[in-house]
Amino acid sequence: MRTISTPKLIATHVSLMAACAIVLYPVLWVIKMALTPSQGFSMSPNPIPDQVSMHNFQHLVTMNDGIFWRQLGNSIIISVATTVIGVALACTAAYAFSRFRFPGRTLGMAGFLITQMFPGVVMAIPLYILLNRLDLLNTLSGLVLVYSTSSLPFCVWMLKGYFDTIPRDLEEAAIMDGASQWVIFTQVILPLARPAIVVTALFSFMTAWNEFILAATFLTKREMFTLPMVLQSFVGSYSTDWGYFAAGAIIVSLPVMLLFFALQKFLVGGLTAGAVKG
């Protein structure tokens, strides 16, 4: 371990704290509005809450006979399923792109990128008609399918790039030991790619967690609604219930931060270096 000079240490901490301050400053108003029982928008110069009330949170979880918990459940189910399906599909696809040289490879990679260039504005209605035909409107699985395919291109590209950096020697050693392609993929490559898998998992989760336009297009029953839809329902044509919205925004962001906190040790694990040395 190298020793770090004190000025450098202080400079690093100071710059990171400054960054955190800039990042958190606007968020303080979200907290203030969430803790203030009125529904007005606060533009006061001082973002420190002058009263602390749980009214908005209470209203959120108790309104309409506590349907909030059900809607939170929907959001969790959809996001977790999207993450699992999206990452699983992306890992296999990215592995194929990284380790095989097959006809159609370039076209396939380009295809994934190209799909991201389609502006969503023209796709919502055809997608709605398609899901209607497949009888998937008003179902959580319909949304999961749409979300996992929309997060796929990034996941595939990200993972393929990361797989490329994993040295081939490891696989060659495994082949010598008689391991099958599948064993190499699951036992050698995937554990090494953990940081990239964490990034793609977080990305897939967020794709589903915060989306509301498609959800609102496909869902019509309130038992099926997701949290972003609930939040958006506080935004009226002329006025918005800012207190409820802010409280909801905090509830929506907490799981993301917890998830990131739990996952970050895999993000910075630095496994490849050790593996190569070993």
């Binding site: 958190l24 979200v30 194929a96 370039t106 055809p126 990200m158 006025s239 990131f260």
Partner: protein
Amino acid sequence: MIRTRRALRALVLAWALVCCIIQTAWADEITLWHSYRGAEQETLEGLLKEWNAQHPELTVTAEPFAPGVYTSKLTNDIPQGNGPDLFIAAHERVGDWSQTKLLREWTEQDASWASYHPTTVEALVYDGKRWGIPLSYKSVALFYNTEMVQVPPDTTDALIAEAKKHTASKEKRYGLVYESTNMYMHAGWLFGFGGQIFDAQGNFVLESAESADSFAFARALVNEHGVVPEEADGTLVSHLFNSRQAAFAINGPWFLGELDKDLPYAIAPLPIVSSTGQPAKPFLTVEAAFISARTENPDGARQVALFLADRQASITRAIKGRQPVANLSAYQDRRLSEDRVLMTFRRQLDASVPMPNRPEMSSVWEPTNRALRRVMRGAVEPDAALTEAKALFEVFQRPPPKERSLAPLITGLALLLLIALAIGARRFMRENMWPQVKANLPAYVYLAPAILGMMILIVIPFVVGSIVSLFVHTQGSFTFVGIENFYRIITSQDYGVTDPLSFYFTLLVTVMWTAINVFLHVSIGMGLALLLREPWLKMRGIYRVLLIVPWAVPNYITALIWKGMFHKQFGAINGVLDALGLEPVSWFSKFSTAFAANVTTNTWLGFPFMMVVILGALQAIPRDLEEAAEVDGASWWQRMRYVTLPLLRPSLVPAVVLGTVWTFNMFNIIYLVSGGEPDGATEILISESYKWAFERQNQYGYAAAYSVLIFLVLLAYSASTGQLKTRD
């Protein structure tokens, strides 16, 4: 024997099943959609519970929707047969909805129309037919703080005089707050001065001396008298009136829910315009129950609608839901006739103008709002602004291109497909690819599920959606016009190349927007990631979590907080500039500053994602390489340039490429922060496309053509920079 008995039993079972099905079909259910929330929602649902208890044979299920998506929900779901039987909505789209066959007509005998206020009934008539039954009405009125104002003024001169007493702009106190640059809020002055939007024949007649007077009056409120703050949007109105920094506010009944519990306030009708002697007449919106054209039970739906519109339910809606109700007999109830708030809105109803329900109304907002803002900003004089508004309205209303034959499209597509297939097959044969395919079979298996999903859920919807670009949409019907939409966009027909509406102007803005954002995202993300990976840094776990907060919090609210921070008079940023002794900046009145506000917000929102990606990517770099370079005496920059960056490249490229594509199509920040200000100059291509689709008379074909062009631009960009090729 046994067999006959079994057969008999099966028959009985089947009969029972049939009976069961018939019964469920007869025990009718009505679905009702609405977009109410708060007290209005609770009251409506309470009433429906009552109905369900009394009518077990006809139960009603209510589904609430966010107002922002409600209209598109109705127009999507009803034609597909997934819509409600009955729905509650504002009247202003009646013209559009009746022409697109969403609504079922009401006959003369269906209701006793005389029981409702005639203005509210009239608002629901289009093409001489009745389309809904009125429930309640909404318009703005004058709110005042009773601690500051005892007697509400009855003329505009008195209002200005009173407001001046409560104005101290140094202390950020204002006499009057209202959204002065919003046509909906301005309408009261417009009609009070004698202006008009449409004449009886439906011609757009806003351009008049009376309208110009009303614009000049609104400008004087802000500039000359200084009683109204600049750039007041809904959030500022709510903030100032609640924090007792404003004596008067012009707002509607929805404002009641936003007011602090202990705020002393009262409501009065808008004053009489002193120079004309006419009352200021705000827009009136009538909320009505509409029967869906696709309902299977129109009689049931009508019964429920009549129940909600009736005297008894109207009284409940008025008292519990705080709705100004349309049913006249409800006002005989003393609880209503003695309610000062409800009676004020009742008086305002007599001095109001129902929002025109003709489809052309949807093309009015953008031109008129822009005209108002330009006048307020001092960019043009009122009469010139009105001329510009008329010109813009006419662009949105221009006649559709002529219909073309479909045959060339179909043959063209078929030919293209054949050529593509032929080229592919030829390459396949020439390069003898079959053995390679066979050797790599597992790769295809690995890929199959992902490709299949992408094909069905992304490629097909996009191709279908793109075909719309060859059509023109007018009131629910599509006409094939070939490449006319593209031709109009490419040749910048109807407006100059340097006009913000032009494709080329917007393209330039979009390219700048994308390049600057991606550069900032990547460089800030990289800087922080490099700091945050150091093992010697204590608390780095906490820093990391705090720094992803902008990604975690829903950006709808944070973007609006940023917009608030850029406010000229109340924003934190001008507060800092002021503390440093600098002039405050009017951020949204110049292109450069409005653009900078958008970029700042989007950078704040977007860098955490890049930081996380780079943190992950950095793990692929063996630290010993960098350390070896350091031992060899390489400087920090040399290590970055020759060791870190090249190793980072494979995992960074996808994030940068995709980040570019996403930023190119990132419209919601523009929409929320600058809103395209000034004069649509900060719009990007995708937000223009949205506007053509939803705010300019639903020109879906033109919007789709925009989207196809966006796609082609991105495709050309990535092809020319070689990003579509796979590097190994």
